[in-house]
Each structure stands twice: as C-alpha cells, then as structure tokens.
C-alpha cells in the first residue's frame, strides 16, 4: 500500500521523457540552423540543461527557502507545528524528520522542498499557521510530507529545469531567427533558396510551440502529483475533512504570496497566483481547482487510496487518478472520534498571538511580559539596561 505509489511514477516519467525529447529536438533544430551542425546544437542544449540541473539538485532547496525568506524553527519555537510535522513523519514512515521553516507572510500557503527524503524541508506561511486548527494543519502538513515521501519534490524540480531550459533556448533561438538568423544564412555558401525557407518556417513554428507543449506537460505532471498528495494526506491522517476544511480556508483568502514566482509555483499547496473566484482552466494550471479537490475529499467513504479514486471518479464522472497497482483492497476507516486534547486546542486569537511571538523571536527580539498584560518587544540592538512599559509605566530589567 505504501511503496506501490511508486508505480504511479511511471506515467510521470513517461511525460518527463516527452519533455526531454522536446529539448533534444530544439537543440537539434537550433544547431542545424545556426551552425549547420545538429550535434553542436544538441551539445549546447544538454550543457545548459546539465548546469541548471546541477544547480537545482544541489542548491534548489536553499535557493527556494532563501527567496521566500523562510526562517528555520526548532521544537521549542513552535511546539504544535513541530509536533504535527513529527506526527506526519511517523504516519508516513519517513525515516528522517524534515526541517521546518516559517515564512513571515500573511498569505496562506505551504510547500515542501529538498532533493530526497533525507534532506527535506517543509515551509509554511505565518498566515496559514495562525488560520488553521490542529486537524487542518495536520491535513496540510500531511499533503506536504507526502510530496516528500512520494519523491514529488525532486521530480518537479527536475521537470521545472527541463521546462526552463526549453523556454530559454526557444526564446533566444526565436529572437536570433527573427533578427539575425535569416541574414547570416543568406551569406553562407550553401544558400539553397526554397529548402531554407521551409527549414526557417518549421524551426519558427517549432520554437513557438515547444515551450507551450513543455508547459502543458509540466502542468499535467504537477496536477497529478497534487491529487496524489491529497490522497496520501487523507490516508496518513485518516481524516480527509481536515485537509478539505483547510483548503476551504485557503480558497477564501485573497492575499497573494509576495515571494512566489512562476518557477516555484508547483511547490506550493495551492497555486500562489490564482485569482479570486476563478477556478483556473484545467490545462493551464499547476494545481487542480481547489473546489474540486475539496469535493473529492468530502466524497470519500473511507481513507484509503481506493476511496479517493472512487470519489475522484464520482466528481469527474469517469477517469482515474490512482493507478490500479496502488489500489490494494484494504478497508481504511475514517477517524470518527477526534483524538485527545480538545481541552488544549487554541482558538484563532491565541494562535495568532502564538505565531507572532514566534516571528518576533525568530527576528531576535526578546519579549518581556509586563504585569499589566502588555508584551514589550525588545529589539536585538537595544542597548539600555532598563525599559519602561508604555502601557502602565512599570520599569523592567532587560535581560
């Protein structure tokens, strides 16, 4: 039931190979046209691809985390978040605890990164952290952890690199064709009129279409992985409603994530660029429409992959999202009774306070709680030894 998910990667691998073929064709055409030598073009295309791949493989996670301004936390900084991640780590059978990051941003989103299960990170925005209750947080983290467990992170990073290479080559290639290509060819000794024009037209059409095809393939892979991560999250938590209700909150928010860009979009739990009230058209989005993901989760009769697949087919009136090999005939009931601890559940105001405490601490501010209830945030460069509470006038020793 757990490893079999890998068999599903066959389809993704086939699609990825499709993108690789596109890259090879682009290199071939460019080489043929500019250097009269297909091998040279292939060489350039592969070189660009290898360099970008190496960067993505070794530095991808730090670039992504750095760009989003994520801050790493420990168990003491935010016990609830740490615990929920550890719970999902246990439920998924991951061997190593992923690193946990908080992004100081009111937008609601989360992502997973890292090239393999032993070097993985989960990041969540402070906005989402304070919006979600424990069950919802569990659903979201379950989704992210399953991206790690299913090795989607590396797959999507590598596909992203392929896409990027194709886009870069096609962009420069088509510009050269337009502005200088035709001229430089005219002077060459071979200059055979009609054949050349045909090559030019074919090359142009191809250079325009290739990035579009590559993008569509990329989106197809990405959406598939999102459905799978939803199914896995439901299986790990045994509680699809948690993720469904979290997605509902995500759908209702209008804030766009400041630090996301087109390249990093598929990493997030929901598309960071979606427009309000618009269920993104099916082919041109990295994520399936949220409303649809919610409907599938709510239609699940149990928590197994089979139940998710049936729910998917009900919502779509056909099709299948999970390959037959993963559909072991196991009955997995949904958790009906909430686990212990309603007594300790925080409400949204308490969660907001808790999160803001963490964010101040991560920025090296120290916090002094005055007897009057006010919280004094002392900046790291504060030099005086005493501070006066602006609310009630009591003086406090700094450290």
């Amino acid at each position: 039931m757990w490893e079999q998910i890998r068999s599903n990667q066959t389809r993704s691998v086939v699609l990825t190979i499709g993108m690789g073929v596109l890259l090879v064709l682009i290199g071939y055409f460019l080489g043929l046209y500019f250097f009269n030598n297909a091998i040279a073009g292939l060489g350039i295309a592969l070189l660009v691809w290898v360099i970008l791949s190496l960067i993505a493989y070794f530095q991808g996670d730090s670039i992504l985390l750095g760009m989003s301004g994520a801050k790493k936390i420990t168990a003491d900084d935010h016990p609830r978040l740490y615990n929920v991640v550890e719970e999902m780590k246990i439920a998924s059978g991951l061997e190593k605890m992923p690193d946990i990051y908080i992004i100081d941003d009111p937008a609601l989103n989360a992502f997973a990164t890292g090239r393999d299960a032993n070097k993985a990170s989960v990041a969540i925005t402070s906005g989402l952290l304070q919006k979600l209750n424990r069950d919802e947080l569990q659903g979201v983290i379950g989704h992210e952890v399953s991206h790690i467990k299913n090795r989607d992170v590396l797959l999507m990073a590598m596909c992203g690199v392929l896409l990027g290479t194709i886009v870069i080559l096609a962009w420069y290639g088509s510009r050269f064709l337009f502005f200088s290509g035709a001229g430089s060819r005219r002077g060459s000794s071979r200059g055979g009129g009609q054949g050349q024009i045909i090559i030019l037209i074919v090359a142009l059409v191809f250079l325009i279409l290739a990035p579009i095809f590559a993008q569509l393939i990329y989106f197809a892979i990405s959406r598939k992985r999102e459905y799978l991560a939803d199914a896995s999250s439901a299986l790990y938590t045994r509680y699809p409603e948690g993720l469904a209700s979290a997605l509902e909150k995500l759908a209702a928010s209008t804030d766009q994530l400041r630090t996301a860009n087109q390249a990093t979009a598929p990493m997030y739990i929901i598309n960071p660029f979606r427009k309000r009230g618009l269920s993104a058209s099916d082919l041109s989005s990295t994520h399936p429409p949220i409303s649809e993901r919610i409907r599938i989760l709510r239609a699940m009769a149990g928590a197994s992959f089979g139940d998710y697949d049936r729910a998917y087919r009900d919502v779509h009136r056909g099709g299948a999202v999970i390959p037959a090999a993963s559909l072991a005939a196991v009955v997995v009931p949904i958790r009906t009774v909430k686990l212990e601890g309603e007594a300790g559940e925080l409400n949204e105001v308490q969660r907001a306070r808790e999160t803001s405490d963490v964010m101040w601490r991560l920025h090296n501010y120290s916090t002094i709680t005055c007897e009057c209830g006010a919280k004094l945030r002392v900046p790291p460069n504060f030099r005086q030894s005493q501070i006066t509470c602006p609310h009630c006038g009591r003086t406090h020793q700094v450290r």
Partner: protein, 188 residues
C-alpha cells in the same frame, strides 16, 4: 559445453536472482516492522513520562477528582510493567491508560482556571501530540505488519519465507471499544 548445460546454468542463475530479490524484500519488510515497533515503543514511553507531570499540574486545581487522578497513575504503573510483555498484553494495558486519560481530560472541562494555565496548555499540547503519535505509529506498524504477513504467506515469497524461517508479525490492536467510547463523566 553442450547447449543443455548452458540452459541448466541459465535456469540456476535466474532462480538464484529471484531468490535473492525475494529474500531481500522480506528482510526489508521485517526491518520496517521492527522500526515501526520501536517507534511505538518510543511514543508509549514518552506518554508514561508525561503523566507524573500532568498529575502534578492538575492536582492543585482538581481537589475533588482524586479518584480520576489515581486511576491514571495506577493505569500508568500497569502499562509500564507490561512494556516488556507481548504486543497483545501491552496493547490492553495501554488501552486502559488511554481511557483513564480521556476520563481525566473530560473532567478538565469543568476547571476553567486550569484550562487557562500556560504550563497546562503546553503540557496538553505534548500529551495531545503524543496520543496522536501513538495512533500514527500504531497505524504505520499495523500497515507494515499487514504487508510483511502478506509477503510471508503469498506465493512465491512464502517459499522463501519458510526456507529462512520468517515468522508472521503480530498486530497491535488497542481494544477498540475502550478507545472509541465517549468518556463517561459522572457528576458527583
């Protein structure tokens, strides 16, 4: 060498490879079961460690709940003693502890002062999470045992399993009735 000899060698090599793959698969699953069991063990011990703290923190607030608190302490002692026993007996003792705890947590609802206490809230988070981790590690353990048992019983890996003495694993089932039942609160 005659063709027949090559065919025999080929068959032997293929059989050896199949044996090798099946054997390694079984070992991997058995190790996964062992690791999953170790994880349950860690979490159960963690819960045992949290309880004295919980009883200490709540004692001051809950003067009239001595019985509930004593039941928790007693269930913890029993569960600790059962920790060297087999899965079935252990699951029973831990199930008792779970229900004693849920009775205590139901009673907490009546003490708003206690619920506002910061130490208590932090403790509750740890307890909640430990309960969840126990549930999730049990879930993963049982899934692993199911998969391992299937491998040891299904053709063709069952042949390898009986050749090398792979025994089926034991499920960790907490008495469902005790866990699922809503905690009964008796008002004095």
């Amino acid at each position: 060498m005659p063709t027949a000899a090559w065919v025999v060698i080929g068959i032997v090599v293929v059989l050896a490879i199949i044996l090798w793959v099946l054997y390694n698969g079984l070992v991997r699953l058995r190790n996964q079961v062992k690791n999953a069991w170790a994880q349950i063990d860690v979490q159960l011990k963690r819960r045992h460690d949290l309880i004295p703290n919980l009883v200490e923190t709540t004692k001051g607030y809950m003067k009239y709940e001595r019985e509930t608190l004593e039941a928790v302490t007693k269930a913890r002692t029993v569960a600790q003693q059962a920790s060297s026993a087999g899965a079935a007996e252990r699951a029973k003792a831990e199930g008792e502890l779970s229900s004693a705890l849920s009775r205590l947590l139901a009673v907490v609802e009546r003490y708003p002062d206690l619920k506002a206490n910061q130490d208590f809230l932090a403790l509750m988070e740890q307890l909640t999470s430990t309960e969840n981790k126990i549930a999730f590690s049990r879930q993963f353990y049982n899934d692993s045992v199911l998969k391992y048992n299937n491998q040891t019983q299904m053709v063709p890996s069952n042949i390898v399993a009986s050749m090398f003495g792979f025994k089926t694993g034991e499920f960790f089932e907490v008495t469902v009735a005790a866990e699922r039942e809503a905690p009964k609160v008796s008002f004095p």
